[in-house]
Amino acid sequence: MKVQRWTPQSGVFIAALGAMVLVLAVGPTWFSAGVTDRLSALFVYVILGAMWNALAGYGGLVSVGQQAFFGLGAYAAIRLSHADVPVYLAVALAGLAVGVVSLAIGEVMLRLRGGEFAVGMWVVAELAHLLVNLDPLVQGETGTSLIALNAIAAEARRAYTYWLSLAAMVALLAVLFALLRGRLGTAIQSIRDDERAASSLGVNVLATKRIVFVLAATGCAMAGALWLASAITFQPKAYFSVQWTAYMIFMTLVGGIGTFEGPILGAILFFLVETFFGGRGVWYLVGLGAAALAFSLFLPRGIFGALEQRFALRLLPLGFRVVERTKP
């Protein structure tokens, strides 16, 4: 018997993943404009899915107000750019700035549990929306635009936004992966499974939750700022819309909640569904909702969860497993 983490399968997968990131990194030099733009959106979706999964799938913190951070991230980018910070630096710093703000929000919100936390986060989102509306720069729902971007030529801007999105996605996933493989991963999952038991075993519940909460807030804020960098228009209603959280939930539930790879798969699926069926209007949204519902009823661990179980898939191993040593 031996305890195993890495398998040859996961080694090959990591290598393939690294190669893919390298290919993606040189993408803007030969992708068409449309593909570059759409891939930037996909990277944002992956961030959103992974961050919601970190909260709900690993931390047991179901938030229906993650759009608060998405909106605040975009708003922070607008504010920083208005304060004459170079526009791409503003976009990059916005997520970190909101991460700091989320420390304070977390102090209050993490004292709530279960449904209270979920509803509380929605309240936070509404509150953040109202407060942003009061800023004269934003002019209520009129909003404003990140026009500092117009100083950069269209092709260069498309590439910068793409690279920044790719870098943010890779960095956030890497941080999440490292955290979940370490002490924090075990601690946070024990809290998810039974908070009181975890606490009695010596897990610092609040400190552990705080790390995951701030990471998810920072990630969602980065996503918001990146979305702004490609959309340019900032209308508060559009960024503080609950639809963003609905998308995160869809990606996580369909891809596989509580698995590292699931939300990434979910984001790709969501991206494809949006691409092909987004034009169908109401029925598209009904379909998204029905799919999320069906998955949580019949395939509670999502597509990746099911695959993982059936084929003993270990692509990005977070846990350990015991294997029988084969006799020579």
Binding site: M20, V23, L24, G27, W30, F31, S32, A33, G34, V35, D37, R38, L39, A41, L42, L130, N133, Q139, G140, E141, T142, G143, T144, S145, L146, I147, L149, N150, A154, R157, W227, S230, A231, I232, T233, Q235, K237, A238, S241, Q243, I268, F271, L272, E274, T275, F276, F277, G278, G279, G281, V282
Partner: protein, 427 residues
């Protein structure tokens, strides 16, 4: 009206690449042929669907008119109109515009109806360096709402907009409220904390006060509020005989029902709404308390102008729509057609419709006549913008086959538009 089938947002190829098959594509080659592509973006479904209701009809008319191609500078171009539905979602509006620009390679983007459609589309076009023309949202929210600063040079090189602004509302209201209905000149206002509400509060209210009206403003409210008792009490206490509001339509329905229950509507002699009450459906939904509500229109079937593209005048356009759809005409018909009229005029004036800089330059100095009347981009009020009039109107009990008639009660914005009725008191 049946929703036309829209092609998927991006070609299949793009999506497959997105899924990871990254090796199949090279840079897309643009065939430079004698074909022009024009994108037309509007809200056909979702909360703003009443704006887009007539757009399918208008796009079909334009397609027929352009079936023989468009001759510019001796070359005949085929014209393809690509219409897209934003589903009233600003995020989707921006993505559709980008997809039209990147994947379809449009030469001109047209967008209409509300900041939720127009601003994201204009920003996407400005960012990509593709000429765009838009209409039907107050120009202040389009120009200043996208980051332009008063007094500073225009930050926009590619995007142009023709629409009404605060000055046009002020002119129409002052004329309308000084006409046949005598009041105490006290105006109760409900201006929300949103795009239009704030612009109106900052600029319209002072203009009205200068004209001798006293404004009773209980302060900004958030869209979606569902209890208006405090505001209604303030209006009653001050005996506001004129009422003015710029709400989103569901909020007005809530407010006006509460105002009726709490006895405010009995005091009101002129109920002047903007943003809501543009279309018959929103007034019909109010039932009898919707009769005699005053409104302002950006187009009316009595407008005496012919669309140069289709050759239709206001009556022919409205009657054509009613015959084709069985539904009552709306003021969006003329505006959407004017948008296409003006877009085609700019392509003609450019000398080379495939040259984006030439088209943008043509837009910046465009002077043309459309179903809305004369447009002149050389006169301001700010660069990139041409202001168009607001005409005072009223919803009265219908005399024909529809429940309500929409009559013109003043024409200070454009004297060529015939006044067809005297303003009636609300109560």
């Amino acid at each position: 009206m049946s929703e036309p089938h829209h092609p998927p947002m991006i070609p299949r190829r793009g999506a497959l690449i997105g899924a990871g098959l990254l090796l199949a594509s090279g840079r897309r080659a643009r065939a430079a042929g004698a074909a022009i592509k024009i994108g037309f973006v509007s809200p056909r479904t979702g909360p703003l669907a009443s704006f887009g209701e007539t757009d399918g009809f208008i796009v079909d008319l334009a397609r027929k008119a352009l079936a023989g191609g468009l001759e510019v500078g001796g070359t005949t171009y085929t014209v393809e109109l690509l219409d897209r539905d934003t589903q009233s979602d600003p995020a989707r509006a921006g993505q559709l515009a980008k997809s039209l620009i990147n994947d379809d390679g449009v030469d001109l983007v047209l967008a209409t109806s509300t900041p939720e459609v127009v601003n994201p589309v204009s920003d996407a076009a400005e960012a990509a360096g593709v000429p765009a023309l838009s209409t039907v949202m107050p120009w202040e929210a389009w120009y200043f709402g996208r980051g332009a600063k008063p007094g500073a040079p225009s930050p926009f090189k590619w995007t142009y907009h023709f629409s009404f602004g605060v000055a046009e509302f002020a002119g129409a209201y002052i004329s309308q409220w000084s006409s046949t209905v005598a009041t105490n000149k006290k105006v109760g206002v409900m201006y929300p904390n949103d795009a239009d509400g704030n612009a109106i509060r900052a600029h319209l209210a002072p203009a009205l006060e200068k004209a001798g009206f006293s404004i009773v403003d209980p302060g900004p409210y958030e869209d979606g509020t569902n209890d208006y008792s405090a505001q209604i009490a303030t209006f009653k206490k001050n005996r506001c005989e004129i009422f003015n509001t710029f709400p989103i339509p569901p909020d007005f329905a809530t407010f006006w029902r509460q105002a009726a229950q709490q006895g405010f509507t009995k005091i009101v002699k002129i109920a002047q709404t903007a943003k809501t009450g543009l279309f018959p459906s929103s007034i019909e939904a109010l039932g009898s308390i919707g009769h005699n509500i005053s409104s302002g229109c950006y187009w009316h079937r009595d407008f005496p102008y012919k669309s140069p593209l289709t050759g239709l005048d206001g009556h022919a356009l409205a009657d054509g729509y009613e015959a084709a759809s069985g539904r009552q005409w709306t003021q969006q018909l003329g505006a959407s057609l004017a948008l296409i009229d003006a877009g085609i005029a700019a392509l003609r004036a450019s000398g080379n419709p495939k040259d984006k800089a030439a088209v943008a330059k043509a837009l910046s100095t465009l002077q043309t006549t459309t179903s809305l009347g004369k447009l002149d981009f050389t006169k301001g009020p700010v660069p990139n913008v041409c202001a168009t009039p607001i005409i005072g109107t009223q919803w009265v009990k219908g005399s024909g086959k529809f429940k309500l008639d929409y009559v013109i009660t003043e024409n200070s914005g454009d004297r060529n538009v015939p006044v067809s009725a005297k303003l009636l008191p609300y109560s």
